[in-house]
Symmetry: C2
Subunit: 231 residues, 2 copies
């Protein structure tokens, strides 16, 4: 029953690069990966598996994607993903966790880039734009998978993710509060946050990069829809 000792870890591997979400899967060299100076060239393969899983989970759904599909996508044989991850579930969790890390990083970066003179509306616009990038940016499959495969997680995994999600949502509250105080936000802050994030998250269902509005246009429409002019 016990898994043999190996490189694989069940969950909390630090994402080797926060921005890998955006990158497409590397061309997957078919030959034996040449060993680096270090004794193990892991990490790359783990990332490959995570990236390929994200793409497949998003396109086909978690249940409809077999671990054989994933193995094939990175040029492994059927049993090999289990050398890196102890279960299909652990792979799903790794995708979601990496997605939340990139989302949080992108959000923090967007806020840090704001000038000191930024208004509440500017801040709001920046949060919305960053969120759209996380959801709809090219190759960004991680967070969409998280949003639509939440059900497949275990209770433990859900709890672990919840902390990151709470952090992410918390960043919206002070801005919404200020907008509410100034009369530019018409609904209670908590409900407004749920409704606004819902409107954004749902865009995954209908947004088409190849036609229709751009992410900037979407962002503008949100500002126009959700916020009132300052009295």
């Amino acid at each position: 029953m016990k898994a043999p000792a190996s490189l694989r870890d069940d969950s909390h591997a630090p994402p080797s690069t926060l921005a890998t979400d955006t990158a497409l899967a590397p061309k997957r060299p078919r030959g034996r990966p040449r060993k680096t100076a270090l004794e193990l060239d892991d990490g790359n393969r783990r990332q490959d598996l995570i990236t390929a899983s994200a793409k497949l989970f998003r396109k086909q759904g978690f249940d409809a994607t077999s671990t054989r599909d994933i193995a094939a996508a990175v040029g492994m044989h059927s049993g090999s993903p289990f050398y890196h991850f102890k279960s299909k579930d652990a792979l799903l969790f790794a995708v979601m966790e990496a997605g939340m890390h990139t989302a949080l990083a992108r959000q923090a970066q967007a806020l840090a880039a704001l000038p000191a003179s930024a208004s509440s509306v500017d801040t709001m616009r920046s949060l919305i734009r960053a969120h759209y990038e996380t959801l709809l940016g090219p190759g960004n499959d991680f967070v969409p998978v998280m949003l639509y495969e939440h059900r497949a997680l275990s209770a433990r995994q859900r709890t672990d993710l919840a902390r990151l999600q709470t952090d992410y949502e918390a960043a919206w509250t002070p801005v919404l509060q200020r907008l509410h105080d100034s009369g530019q936000l018409g609904a209670p802050v908590k409900l407004a946050r749920l409704l606004i994030l819902g409107a954004l998250n749902w865009s995954v269902q209908w947004f088409d990069r190849k036609k229709g509005a751009s992410l900037d246009e979407l962002t503008s429409a949100c500002i126009a829809l959700f916020l009132k002019d300052k009295a």
Copy 2:
């Protein structure tokens, strides 16, 4: 390969009662269903299967629900659902189609109940409230299943459903247009519709009937968030 002749139909059975979505699954009498005056007491069993499937699909997801789960839920043996539906897919489609029919009926009823003096805001409120009822009303699992299991449908099934969905969404357009013309809706009508319906649809993910806001409070928050005061 050909299915034996039977009562089952692949898709377009008229929902025997539009309102069955709201009803909980009948207590499923364990004994042999007594034959009615008619030669066949089908219909009831079909409805039972649809209702039980909706509940299971919503709770566990389509892929994670086996046809054996469904059979057990209505007191049948494993192969029997296939007497009524030619495939698991056909059952899913039946759930979604019935859901859209009740949604359309509820929407039409809400609009019909408005007094002639109703303002655009009143109409909007009524549409939102009816939508929340469809999504979050007790026992209303059909439309949530449709929203979250869309991927499992075949192209053909998707096309068939799309017509109903287009009708449903179309009812919002004239109201949004009027609100836009009067300056009460700040975003372009088409994007506003997508964003607003997204905000509503996402509520399935977080709404808890046992705590938090009521459907009326939710509706009020939407009006406050999405609409500006008339100039």
